[in-house]
């Protein structure tokens, strides 16, 4: 996947780094889409941080094409990378053309006596995956960071969905675009909440219900 994704989440949320200031979004030729509060940019209102690495400039910076200088810079800086925006290119998610279909990964839940397997290719979104996992392990509730009120705590234990990626690191489910997740996920573990206190993110994962 492109390494030019503007969303870099540093190890620590240190020094009051304002992510929104560094956030890059796709703009239209000649049109500035930045609003004053920065947070309501249309370009960033996406299910995933699949928004793009072309940054915006002021109108006065546009050339005769209507492209801002920063758009041109961004394109030149990342010659091989594709703009990654939700729903672009318009190819059906189903059509796993050129890719192996069928990606079964093990799912472990702390406290369950046996593991299950899910085929990640069966789902299009995090929401679908977690709904399915909740069905599979129906006695547990899976922590849904962005929808706290939807949870009903049956036995008071929450589980945090994590996964092991290609590098062997344990990651929180939901930070990267769905397709990227499917490609890099090797196995899934639903961790008991108490263990994850240290991991509790101050910025919740980018994934939300709309994906």
């Amino acid at each position: 996947m492109s390494s030019e994704n503007g969303k870099r989440l540093p190890e620590t949320d240190a020094a009051g780094l304002n992510f929104e200031a560094t956030e890059l979004t796709l703009g239209l030729p000649g049109k500035s889409r930045v609003t004053s509060d920065g947070g309501a940019k249309l370009g960033s209102k996406r299910g995933f941080s699949e928004t793009v690495d072309l940054s915006l400039g002021d109108k006065k910076d546009t050339n005769k094409l209507g492209q801002t200088q920063s758009q041109i810079d961004a394109r030149e800086a990342a010659p091989g990378s594709k703009a990654q925006v939700v729903g672009w290119p318009p190819v059906r998610g189903y059509a796993k053309r050129g890719k192996k279909s069928c990606k079964y990964v093990k799912v472990a839940v702390d406290g369950a006596p046996y593991l299950r397997k899910v085929d990640l290719e069966m789902y299009n979104t995090y929401q679908q995956l977690l709904a399915s996992l909740e069905d599979m392990f129906s006695c547990f509730t899976i922590r849904n960071f962005l929808n706290e009120k939807k949870m009903d705590q049956v036995n008071g234990i929450e589980y945090v969905p994590t996964y092991e990626d290609k590098d062997g690191d344990w990651m929180l489910v939901g930070d990267v675009p769905w397709q990227m997740f499917v490609e890099s996920c090797k196995r899934i573990r639903l961790m008991k909440n108490t263990e994850t206190v240290e991991l509790a993110p101050r910025t919740p994962p980018k994934w939300s219900r709309r994906s």
């Binding site: 996947m1 492109s2 796709l26 239209l28 030729p29 000649g30 049109k31 309501a40 249309l42 370009g43 209102k45 299910g47 094409l65 209507g66 492209q67 758009q71 394109r75 091989g80 990378s81 594709k82 703009a83 990654q84 925006v85 939700v86 729903g87 672009w88 290119p89 318009p90 190819v91 059906r92 998610g93 189903y94 059509a95 796993k96 053309r97 050129g98 890719k99 192996k100 279909s101 069928c102 085929d119 290719e121 069966m122 299009n124 979104t125 929401q127 679908q128 962005l146 929808n147 397709q179 939300s208 219900r209 709309r210 994906s211």
Partner: protein, 573 residues
């Protein structure tokens, strides 16, 4: 004169009119024609399942036998629509079942189909013959099992690109021994395993089987056995196709394939080893349809060698790893080509194997009958589009997707307005157009001026101002579906002529400049439209200020008012 004919005669005449548009026209001639037509109508097409209710459908066409329904908007294919948006077929099945309709055929696209629905179909409609599901979801192998087990006269089970939970592959065994009527069986989209023995027996007892599309779990030796039992096949979808060309198994397969002298359509190759392709050369000469777009890893020489055998090809779906040179081979070989689709093999990657404007120009020059195109490419030039427009004035569908959404002409650095302008000016029969690349308002001026037959237009990341949208709405009199994303069209464009939307099936606008206030105005002015706002962000973020820009708006004409099944993320104004 016609007034003196008894109804039966008129009905007999109307029997020859099968196209639903023509039948709609017939029904408008006079009251008696309207009456006769409605009682004799057997096939009904409903392009938007929320435009009408099942009750009203049956009231008007009590003799309906075949129903086609479409649900979610097209952009649902690209994850722009929440999965629970709607499009449920169950309410339709329930009403049809309750009113004793003798349904025989059901064709659904982008609808949510539950196992319950499938069971109800299988148990209610005694003469049910044909189920075609395209891009649907919501069902599992259990639903398929019900269809297999209970539909005694099933002829067609065609599953295309559905999301099916089929962990249990038992459904194929549910076809009873008495079921011998199958003509078409397509389960290529299923991911799980199937009972191979049951499949072989089913094919053996289906002498009318003409179309068989397998999924990737069906191994080579089974394929060979199936072909031996069904040499009459016309359409074959191969699942797994990996073998050692020098082996006994491969020889047996070659022999089996050669017996299938009627195969005109070939697809699948969901798993394939390129060196095996030579086994199918013997049947390539008859092929009119070839779909290799699911076959990863066939590149260069192997692909072109294959294509060189396919002189009668009319429809070709392929991956962009064919390259411009490969398209040159297509151009010189496939003189009968009418439809070409080139898909990206690596949509998010660097695109080393890809096609450019050169490949398209070659095909346009070599294939004068080309009328339908879907082309994903790295780049496009105005000069190329102008040449294509000159070479191929017969386009009915022209869908171009440049992978970088705002890329200009790389040679001149200009927008692609002139190129697309040439296409719409030259192709007088153009019904469907998708644009991409850097585009200004100018291209929309051309579209409004020249695209007189245009019915469907897809726009993304284009235009400079409201004028773009206005040119289209004012100019394209036959426009039925307009879908727009990431364009600077706002309320002024949206509100200019709200009556126009009643002449269309639907309008989609996402990430544009329209506000909640603008959408509310449309809804107030046009009670015959449902105006839906889709908002998938956290509810607390969504504020009700009319000045707030709307993320996604979908509006459509309807005779039955607001639907009652919308999820939380959809607000109907």
């Amino acid at each position: 004169m016609m007034n003196y004919f008894p109804d039966e005669v008129l009905e007999h005449v109307f029997d020859f009119i099968t196209c639903h548009k023509d039948r709609n026209s017939v029904s408008l001639v006079c009251k008696s024609w309207h009456r006769i037509e409605r009682y004799s109508r057997r096939r009904v097409f409903i392009g938007n399942c929320y435009s009408i209710s099942p009750e009203r459908l049956i009231a008007r066409f009590p003799g309906v036998k075949s129903l086609t329904l479409k649900g979610k908007p097209h952009f649902a294919d690209f994850n722009l629509v929440p999965y629970d948006w709607g499009g449920f077929v169950y309410p339709w099945i329930k009403v049809l079942a309750e009113t004793g309709i003798g349904l025989e055929e059901l064709r659904l696209k982008r609808m949510v189909v539950s196992d319950e629905s499938l069971e109800l179909i299988s148990k209610t409609f005694v003469n049910f013959q044909s189920l075609v599901l395209v891009s649907c979801d919501g069902f599992s192998a259990d639903g398929l099992a019900a269809i297999a087990a209970n539909c005694r006269f099933l002829r067609e089970l065609d599953l295309q690109e559905n999301e099916v939970d089929d962990h249990r592959g038992h459904w194929l065994s549910c076809f009873p021994e008495s079921c011998t009527s199958l003509v078409s069986l397509n389960f290529a989209c299923l991911k799980g395993e199937v009972n191979l023995g049951a499949l072989e027996r089913l094919v053996s007892r289906s002498p009318n089987l003409k179309s068989l599309r397998l999924n990737r779990s069906v191994p080579l030796d089974t394929l060979q056995k199936l072909l031996m039992r069904a040499p009459q096949l016309v359409d074959l979808g191969i699942g797994s196709y990996v073998h050692d060309p020098s082996s006994e198994a491969s020889n047996k397969l070659k022999h089996a394939i050669q017996r299938c002298k009627s195969i005109m359509s070939l697809s699948g190759f969901l798993e394939v080893a390129p060196r095996c392709m030579s086994a199918i050369y013997p049947i390539c000469g008859n092929l009119t349809t070839l779909n290799l777009s699911y076959a990863p890893g066939i590149h260069g020489n192997k692909l072109t060698k294959l294509i060189q055998h396919c002189r009668k090809l009319q429809r070709l779906w392929i991956l962009d790893c064919i390259g411009d040179k490969g398209l040159g081979v297509v151009a010189s070989t496939c003189k009968e080509l009418q439809e070409l689709r080139v898909f990206p093999s690596d949509p998010f990657g660097a695109g080393n194997d890809a096609v450019t404007e050169e490949g398209l120009v070659l095909v346009s020059a070599g294939c004068p009958k080309l009328n339908s195109l879907l082309y994903f490419c790295q780049q496009m030039t105005n000069a190329a589009l102008i040449t294509v427009a000159k070479n191929c004035p017969n386009f009915i569908r022209f869908r171009l997707c440049i992978l970088d959404p705002v890329r200009p002409d790389p040679v001149t650095n200009q927008p692609l307005d002139e190129g697309f302008g040439a296409i719409v000016q030259s192709c007088k029969r153009l019904k469907r157009l998708s644009l991409s690349g850097l585009l200004t308002d100018q291209v929309f001026l051309y579209i409004g001026m020249y695209a007189e037959q245009l019915e469907m237009l897809s726009i993304a990341f284009a235009a400079d101002s409201d004028k773009g949208m206005l040119y289209v709405l004012n100019g394209c009199k036959k426009l039925r579906k307009l879908e727009i994303r990431d364009c600077p069209f706002g309320n002024a464009a949206l509100l200019e002529d709200v009556g126009k939307y009643e002449t269309m099936r639907s309008l989609w606008m996402s990430s544009c400049e329209v506000t909640l206030g603008g959408c509310k105005t449309v809804a107030e002015m046009m009670p015959s439209l449902n105006v839906e706002i889709i908002n998938e962000s956290d509810q607390t973020e969504f504020n009700l200020d009319d000045g707030q820009k709307v993320d996604k708006m979908y509006l459509y004409r309807t005779l039955v008012g607001h639907r009652k099944d919308a999820p939380e993320s959809v607000w109907i104004l």
